[in-house]
């Protein structure tokens, strides 16, 4: 089954880029092989659908902010657990679950909901411009990398 590991986020918005940093690190740990692809994107909704088409399994890595969360925590979420959030829902676009539902309705070749996994890192600062993450989030990158590799091995 073709698998895509996709890092989401804005690499110039400090912690918002964590997903991209994680996926780059995961790619460095993997041998180039059949059926495994890596990508990074700073978009959501419909534009994301363009990237997901054709894959049987997708692992997304992204930043998240939750009530009471501590920067540096790493979560494994399925699609139905996705809250409405800063970047997965947009005034110009669709949320990820809605985009997938739409794509399937229109006959696009997309992974099933249960084959889309989100690894999310709790972040602190997503409003300041900067190219590196804050210390607590930087410390979480190796943990998120291990979580992704674990997913890939199953």
């Amino acid at each position: 089954m073709n698998t895509l590991v996709l890092g989401l986020g804005n690499p110039i918005l400090t912690d918002d880029g964590v997903g991209i940093h994680v996926v780059r690190a995961v790619a460095a740990r993997c041998l180039p092989g059949s059926g495994l692809a890596f990508a990074e994107a700073s978009v959501g909704g419909l534009r994301l659908l363009d990237l997901l088409a054709g894959y049987g399994r997708v692992i997304l890595v992204d930043a998240i902010q939750t009530r009471g969360g501590r920067p540096g925590d790493v979560y494994r979420l399925s699609l139905d657990q996705l809250p409405a959030s800063l970047h997965s829902s947009s005034t110009h676009d669709l949320s990820l679950p809605a985009a997938l539902a739409l794509g399937r309705r229109l006959g696009m070749d997309l992974p099933a909901d249960e084959d889309v996994i989100l690894l999310a890192v709790e972040v602190g600062d997503v409003l300041s411009f900067g190219e590196t993450c804050t210390p607590a989030v930087t410390k979480a990158i190796p943990l998120a990398v291990e979580a992704a590799l674990t997913e890939l091995r199953t």
């Binding site: 804005n10 700073s42 534009r47 009530r67 409405a84 970047h87 005034t91 676009d93 006959g107 411009f129």
Partner: protein, 489 residues
């Protein structure tokens, strides 16, 4: 004073927050839109080579990277005092036209159409693209996705990447196109013109064919006469890529027309202590507060304002649509906020027709697409029309082209005051003393906001009907007497 808040679940999510203040009678006294702005871009830009900015600024906003890409490229042209060869200009405008088709398509079908096709009182769970497809059929959905896909393929072909284009450089573009690519783009362009006509027809059938919607568009609740801004070519026709910026007054007469390097003589920014984002206004009229009209410097920068500020569209079918627009709505200028949606579709059609024109131009396959700069860089301003409004990029560099100072006025910033005013107007009409607040009322206020297709640098993101909202009505003593929740646990 009582306060109603349209407030997201947590300020950490960075949403805009709408506060509506009621007076003692329970009528709306004021409405404010508070923005937690992304901080420090101007600082972040300092020390970077100016030619990098066309690859950095697209990341301010993942929605309209093409607009930032091209604005930064034009600013860098100005910094380096270099002229772009004709084929380079045409290729940039070709990419830009394709981007416009895609962007306006997404806004209309995902965001606006559900309100009109399903109705503003339909339950939020249905008032989205899936509900739209359920009502008008899967084929419409397929057409939308395919058309958008073709437009994005054109952007990718010309810009190097669909998501964040990299093709524009100071002095031109990095890639010319051959005949095979040109023919492909032209063929897709014709499909996109058909799609533009289809979309306008849909709007006619569903919106204009329904007197209730027409009344809504013309209603006082959504009407705010103000100054209107848009870029025009030398014949005062709408142009998204290049030209001068024209502003007309609420009666439609030209107030000012300026070149990019003159923008600081025309536009100033007003600061309020309760929000990070500043409020641009026309210096020549002055800041008179959150009011609109001949004596207030508040101006709008939207598809509607672009049509108001111009004398027409440069392509034939769009020009027909433009004439019908004004004759239906009672002449120029049109002040109805919801008319922005119609204007957006006219622009979609124009962008598709312009795309075909450029693709059919024999010069578009000329391999000479860039002049390498030779002059010493100093300072430059680049302006384009982003879908959401006039976009201004201004860079000052040292003699090596390293950015020393940077100022950006992004599309929605222009509309910050108008949005607040439109929200207040809608709130006044729909939220009245003694009335129990309903989701439909909240949605009508949201519709005022949404028509501007606002983009506060990624700070405010929600779908129609899915915006996490809490509205708290407080009595004169500050006690919460009513709470309305939407999409919040």
């Amino acid at each position: 004073m009582q306060k109603i808040s349209i407030d997201p679940i947590t300020r950490l999510e960075g949403h805009g927050k709408i506060d509506i203040f009621l007076d003692e009678e329970g009528n709306v006294a004021n409405a404010y839109l508070l923005i937690p702005e992304l901080r420090g871009f101007e600082k972040f830009a300092e020390g970077r080579p100016v030619e990098e900015m066309a690859r950095i600024t697209p990341r301010i906003c993942g929605v309209c990277p093409e607009a930032h890409h091209v604005a930064s490229a034009k600013a860098a042209d100005a910094v380096y005092h270099v002229e772009v060869p004709p084929a380079g200009k045409k290729l940039r405008e070709l990419l830009y036209s394709a981007f416009y088709v895609a962007d306006h398509t997404v806004h209309f079908y995902i965001l606006a159409a559900p309100d009109f096709v399903l109705g503003p009182d339909a339950p939020p769970a249905e008032r989205n693209i899936l509900g739209l497809i359920h009502k008008v059929g899967v084929d419409v959905g397929k057409t939308v996705i395919e058309s958008r896909g073709k437009a994005m393929d054109i952007v990718g072909l010309l810009g190097g990447k669909t998501i964040h284009p990299v093709g524009a450089l100071p002095g031109g573009v990095s890639k010319a196109i051959d005949e095979e690519e040109r023919a492909r783009i032209e063929a897709w362009g014709h499909d996109l013109v058909d799609f533009g006509l289809f979309s306008l027809q849909l709007f006619h059938d569903v919106v204009l064919g329904n007197q209730a919607y027409l009344d809504l568009i013309l209603s006082d609740a959504y009407t705010t006469p103000m100054y209107y801004m848009g870029m025009v070519d030398e014949n005062n026709r709408v142009n998204f890529y290049d030209g001068r910026v024209r502003v007309v007054d609420p009666q439609g007469n030209e107030f000012v027309k300026y070149s990019p390097e003159e923008y600081l003589d025309v536009v100033a920014e007003h600061v309020e202590p309760w929000t990070y984002l500043k409020f641009p206004y026309l210096k020549g009229v002055g800041w008179k507060g959150f009011v609109t009209g001949m004596d207030s410097g508040v101006y709008q920068a939207t598809p509607l304002s672009r049509l108001n500020a111009a004398d027409g569209m440069d392509t034939s079918r769009a020009q027909e649509a433009y004439e019908e627009f004004y004759s239906t709505l009672g002449g120029k200028p049109v002040h109805g906020t919801l008319a922005i949606h119609w204007a957006r579709l006219i622009e979609l059609l124009y962008a598709a027709e312009r795309l075909v024109e450029l693709a059919a131009d024999p010069e578009i396959t000329d391999p000479y697409v860039r002049n390498v700069p030779t002059a010493t860089p100093t300072e430059g301003v680049g302006i384009v029309e982003a879908p959401r409004g006039t976009l201004t990029h201004h860079f000052i560099t040292d003699e090596r082209g390293i950015v020393q100072k940077c100022n950006l006025i992004v599309g929605t910033t222009n509309n910050y005051a108008p949005i607040s005013i439109s929200i207040k107007k809608a709130a006044e009409a729909f939220i009245r003393e003694g009335q129990v607040l309903t989701e439909g009322m909240l949605n009508r206020v949201e519709m005022a906001f949404r028509a501007y297709d606002p983009c506060f640098g990624c700070a405010t993101h929600t779908l129609p009907g899915q915006m996490p909202l809490v509205v708290q009505v407080r009595d004169a003593d500050g006690r919460v007497v009513q709470v309305l929740r939407q999409n919040m646990r």
